[in-house]
């Protein structure tokens, strides 16, 4: 609580001060020791790099080339996560819908996509879809083959977006269902329609709950975006692997690309924390 407590003329005894000080010191010691441990760990890793004679010159020479691939990685990830967000909201509404058609479509979507490897799905969008297009064109739908023959990047975005949308559907559904029935009843009692209650009352509360798991998905997607390299897109990991193989210096290249992915995820984690803090306004637990 923000209100300061009235002590009513009674002073805190000196021995209690000692206890409070000890608690504070313990927290300070913990912070200091964790920092020392982390720094030692970093030093140890750099020592290892030195021992195995990691070629930093080589890394420096190629870092620019590798980083140019980051554009593809970020483009694919952001567009795919946007698609996944839209699909997951539709999917969750479908899973919770009393309409048998909407419900079964959403259920089949989640089951099918979650039950098959992402790798297979990527190839499905890229390699198998044109064949489907040809078959459809043969039975008399003009132009469909061209429409279904996707370039690598759109195919990758669709594959990742549709796949993550299925996982996120379940996250969004769980978030919506975690809001107590009383909230929906209060909204209805005011005269709100189902969709007004969802939009104004249920979803904003569910959103706060699902931010951490959704961030998880986003972080996982940044890394899974490397799958588009399968289709020959020159994104981060594809470049690193190519160069590493060409000069027999895969260790340097892979360590470097791993570090770049990690940095991107650290930034995302920071953004997640900011969003969470913003959404937690009015929540007693954080004060």
């Amino acid at each position: 609580m923000s209100e300061t407590q009235e002590t009513g003329g009674c002073t805190i005894p000196p021995e209690a001060h000692a206890v409070l000080e000890e608690i504070e010191n313990r927290q300070k010691r913990f912070k200091r020791n964790t920092t020392i441990a982390l720094l030692s760990l970093t030093a140890f890793i750099f020592f290892l790099f030195y021992v195995i004679k990691l070629d930093f010159m080589f890394m420096g020479k190629w870092v620019g080339f590798i980083l140019t691939g980051m554009g593809f990685t970020l483009l694919v990830s952001f567009l795919a996560i946007s698609l996944a967000c839209i699909l997951s909201i539709l999917g969750a509404l479908g899973r919770l819908s009393k309409n048998p058609i909407a419900n079964s479509i959403a259920t089949a979507y989640v089951s099918l996509i979650r039950g098959t490897p992402l790798l297979v799905q990527v190839y499905m969008w890229y390699l198998a879809l044109p064949q489907l297009g040809k078959a459809l064109e043969d039975i008399g739908i003009p132009g469909i083959q061209n429409a279904l023959t996707l370039p690598a990047i759109p195919a990758g975005i669709l594959a990742l977006g549709v796949c993550y949308g299925a996982y996120m559907t379940e996250t969004v559904r769980a978030g919506i269902q975690s809001i107590t029935i009383g909230q929906r009843e209060a909204a209805k009692a005011l005269g709100m329609t189902e969709s007004q209650a969802m939009r104004r009352i249920i979803f904003p509360q569910a959103l706060r709950i699902i931010i951490p798991p959704i961030s998880n998905e986003f972080i996982a997607m940044i890394k899974d975006s490397s799958l588009v390299s399968l289709m020959g897109v020159w994104e981060l990991s594809y470049r690193a692997i190519k160069i590493g193989r060409r000069y027999f210096q895969s260790l340097e290249m892979l360590i470097m690309v791993a570090f770049i992915y990690w940095l991107m995820c650290v930034v995302l984690q920071y953004v997640q924390e900011k969003i969470e803090a913003h959404m937690a306004r009015g929540d007693r637990r954080v004060h």
Binding site: M1, S2, T180, G182, Q183, E185, A186, A187, K188, A189, L190, G191, M192, T193, Q196, R200, I201, P204, Q205, R208, R281, G282, D283, R284
Partner: protein, 254 residues
């Protein structure tokens, strides 16, 4: 009271949960405008269900509900009935045992939520009245505070203000003080009393005997899914006719 118009009319109301849990068994009830009716009865007698059927938080299995001239037939799930249910909800305010304030909104945002979202009014337009309501329930100073920072009694008073912002014709209270610490009950009951004084039509399920005795115009005792006895509080409390009423009252008045 007799010359006043009927505000709530319930005819042959049945509610069956599942297949054979017959919770309401053919209730008939008329409530006049400005009347304060307190519903008493043992746990499981159907009091809350009756109240929740009036604004269709529970869908009645059979019977009709009329609020301020709008009649809805149970069992008909037409678009027209749906629209009428929404209209009835706009005319009735409800307060819950667990308050159910919207936790992501401040007190004032809770109060204007109904007018803004349901009635489509502009925010700036509803804020003066919402402030007036918060003042009326004694919480002007909590205007911009989120519900998690309010005591139970304060939350329930904001919830009452939130209902009143819709300018309802009827207020339904579903055990509004049951979740409160004893010392906080008074502040909520006091608001309910003032509401009754201002001529609001009230149906309340409550264990506050003081409210039933001093404020209610009529007390209804329910058991087994129907009311078994009703009348002015002085009559019901001093001279109940039914054996079951006597047993129930003896139990709660001790």
């Amino acid at each position: 009271m007799n010359d006043k118009k009927t505000m709530v009319k319930i005819e042959n109301l049945h509610k069956v949960f599942g297949k054979d849990s017959h919770v309401l068994r053919g209730i008939d009830l008329d409530v006049k405008a400005g009347e304060v009716v307190v519903i008493l009865g043992p746990s499981g007698s159907g009091k809350s269900t009756l109240l929740r059927c009036i604004n269709f938080l529970e869908t009645p299995t059979a019977g009709t509900i009329t609020v301020d001239g709008l009649t809805v037939n149970a069992g008909k799930a037409t678009k027209e009935e749906e629209t009428k249910i929404l209209q009835i909800r706009k005319k009735t305010g409800m307060c819950f045992q667990s308050f159910n304030l919207f936790p992501h909104m401040t007190a004032i945002e809770n109060v204007i939520e109904g007018p803004v979202t349901v009635l489509g009014q502009a925010k700036s337009e509803c804020i003066p009245y919402a402030e007036e309501l918060l003042d009326w329930v004694g919480l002007s100073d909590k205007r911009d505070v989120h519900p998690s920072r309010l005591s139970g009694g304060q939350q329930q008073r904001v919830a009452i203000a939130r209902s009143l912002a819709m300018k309802p014709d009827v207020m339904l209270f579903d055990e509004p003080t049951s979740a409160l610490d004893p010392e906080l009950v008074g502040e909520v009951v006091e608001v309910m009393e003032r509401l009754a004084d201002e001529g609001m039509t009230i149906l309340a399920v409550t264990h506050e005997m003081h409210f039933a005795r001093d404020v209610a115009h009529r007390v209804l005792i329910m058991d087994g899914g129907d009311w078994i006895e009703q009348g002015p509080p002085e009559e019901i409390f001093t001279n109940p006719r039914e054996q079951r009423s006597k047993q129930f009252l003896a139990h709660i008045l001790n």
